[in-house]
């Protein structure tokens, strides 16, 4: 019984760890433009994140140490510092995007402009992180975030053309009339949203916070293999709703308000309440994860005390970095930049920084010195290498595609 409970809770954590504003925005944009035609990218991203989350979970269980802790040992202080700076900037931008997204969700529920809500959201986030237990935050927000399944459910009410939808799912080329670079640009951002670097930092540091051991490897693996694909399905639900309600109108999605319109169409008042609640919790959860990740990275590079397990005053620098990151992210959003714009920039940054995150994980997961008998098997390495190849292509193509397409216009 206890085992099943641990499984359920872990699955919730994984779902919460997958879906964030990046997935929401990219899936809605791609759905409105290409229908379900980019499903293959989400599938690829889910396979990739599963493979690497499983590896980092194994590293944690076998060594009791999070991934970033080992990166400096393996890459040396210079390469690791370069990695740290790049990952930190990207994660900070991702945090800013989530905070902005939460503020917009409140705006959609209240009608009061989002810039008014940025400060309360940032302060509330800090209090949440300071006061509430790690596991409680993860599980409650993970559970509440499931409400965005309303997108997937809405499809039945929107009376779709099922054969057109299934045709899109099977396609791996741009629909006629759509330029290839634009199609690829959306593919890269979708992929980056599925594999955002903070997911690995947070997942592995969280594993240390929750004291995983080799005994729970089976449960952990199940969490990853159930939770992340479910997260992927929830994201695809957003794409599907946009494909059914928005694509036929030939309209583009540029705001979170447009993303929720299909739900208003399907379920009216009740649907809107559910979806705005879902967005709020999903993005608060992701803001928690990204803010903690900022602290984890720095603390693990320099060897500081870190984590919510430690008495807060004993991990002063860690908590200072977490609070400082929230403050910086707050300042970015408070300038009034459109949160959707911050999201897109952070995703392009993520795409470029992806190899920096995933290559070291693959190296360490093959190191007998650290993992003993728990090193990667042949299958794990095959999936890992193929994913890494895709990651490299996405990283190289990201900026040229962004420039060539004017951010997917």
């Amino acid at each position: 019984m206890k085992k099943y409970l641990a499984l359920t809770l872990g699955v919730l954590t994984a779902i919460g760890g997958f879906v964030d504003i990046g997935d929401i925005v990219t899936n809605a944009e791609a759905g409105a433009r290409f229908g379900l035609g980019l499903t293959w990218v989400v599938v690829l991203g889910v396979i990739g994140i599963c493979a690497y989350a499983e590896m980092s979970g194994r590293i944690v269980a076998a060594t009791g140490r999070p991934v970033y802790d080992v990166i400096r040992e393996r890459l040396g202080p210079r390469a690791a510092l370069f990695n740290l700076i790049a990952s930190f900037i990207v994660t900070l931008l991702t945090l800013a995007a989530q905070i902005g997204g939460v503020a917009v969700a409140i705006q959609l529920a209240s009608g009061i402009p989002h810039v008014v809500w940025v400060a309360p959201v940032a302060i509330g986030l800090w209090i949440l992180m300071w006061r509430v237990k790690f596991e409680k935050i993860e599980r409650i927000l993970g559970l509440a975030g499931l409400t965005i399944a309303v997108f997937a459910v809405s499809i039945w009410w929107l009376d779709p053309d099922w054969s057109a939808l299934s045709g899109q799912v099977m396609s791996i080329t741009p629909p006629p009339g759509e330029p290839v670079p634009t199609y690829l640009y959306y593919a890269v951002t979708l992929f980056a949203a599925a594999m955002t670097p903070y997911e690995v930092f947070f997942f592995s540091s969280g594993g240390v916070e929750e004291r995983w051991t080799v005994k729970q490897l089976g449960i952990q693996r199940a969490n990853v293999l159930i939770g992340f694909p479910l997260g992927g399905l929830l994201s695809l639900g957003i794409a599907a709703a946009a494909a059914v309600a928005i694509l036929p109108l030939g309209m583009e999605v540029e705001t979170l308000g447009q993303v929720v319109l299909p739900i208003g169409l399907a379920f009216g008042l009740a649907g809107m309440i559910v979806v705005l609640f879902g967005f709020f919790t999903v993005m608060v959860g992701a803001a928690f994860e990204t803010a903690m990740s900022c602290g984890y990275m720095l603390a693990q590079y320099f060897g500081w005390q870190w984590g919510k397990r430690k008495q807060p005053k004993r991990a002063a620098r860690f908590h200072a970095v977490v609070a400082g990151s929230v403050l910086l992210a707050f300042l970015i959003v408070q300038t009034g930049v459109d949160p959707v714009m911050i999201t897109e920039v952070s995703l392009i940054g993520s795409a470029v920084a992806l190899p920096l995150t995933y290559l070291p994980v693959l190296i360490v997961a093959n190191d007998r010195q650290y993992l003993g008998d728990h090193v990667n098997g042949r299958f794990g390495n095959a999936v890992g290498l193929v994913t890494l190849l895709v990651v490299l292509i996405a990283a190289v193509a990201a900026i040229p595609l962004m420039i060539a397409t004017g951010m997917g216009a």
Partner: protein, 143 residues
């Protein structure tokens, strides 16, 4: 890796990048069209947004007015921006300018109808949105 192989690799990469950017530019140029076409597309997108908002407002019970008003406000901001861009564009664009103006008026009417919970007015706005969207589609081959 020898210097020979490396420089060959560099050359290969450069050729690849060049080919990619050429392909990108040509296929984009073929698809995105003129500035006026782009502005038409933006206007069309906002009109369709208003249409969806009107439909959501006709649900029973309707989607919350605050949310729809925020969506329509964003659409209005976008349309006003389009109007300004169009004014700066050299040449005669009176046709499109008229349609953008209609779109702004439509968004305003939809917002008022939603705030008042006026279903007949909302149904009327929906019909106008559909007509305006068709008019914009007719202007541009691409839509």
């Amino acid at each position: 890796m020898g210097t020979g192989t490396r420089s060959r690799l560099h050359r290969l990469a450069a050729v690849f990048a060049l080919a990619l950017s050429l392909a990108a530019c040509s296929s984009l140029a073929a698809s995105t069209g003129t500035k006026e076409d782009q502005l038409t597309a933006v206007t069309h997108s906002q009109v369709q947004t208003a249409r969806l908002a009107a439909e959501a407002g006709l649900e029973d019970p309707p989607a919350p007015a605050v949310t729809l008003t925020v969506v329509l406000d964003d659409a209005r901001t976008e349309l006003v921006g389009t109007q300004e861009d169009l004014a700066k564009l050299p040449g005669d664009h009176e046709d499109l300018a008229g349609l953008v103006e209609d779109a702004i008026a439509l968004v305003d009417r939809t917002a008022t109808a939603i705030e008042d919970g006026d279903r007949p007015a909302l149904r009327e706005a929906l019909r106008q949105a559909e007509a305006l969207a068709t008019a914009l589609e007719d202007r541009s081959e691409k839509l």
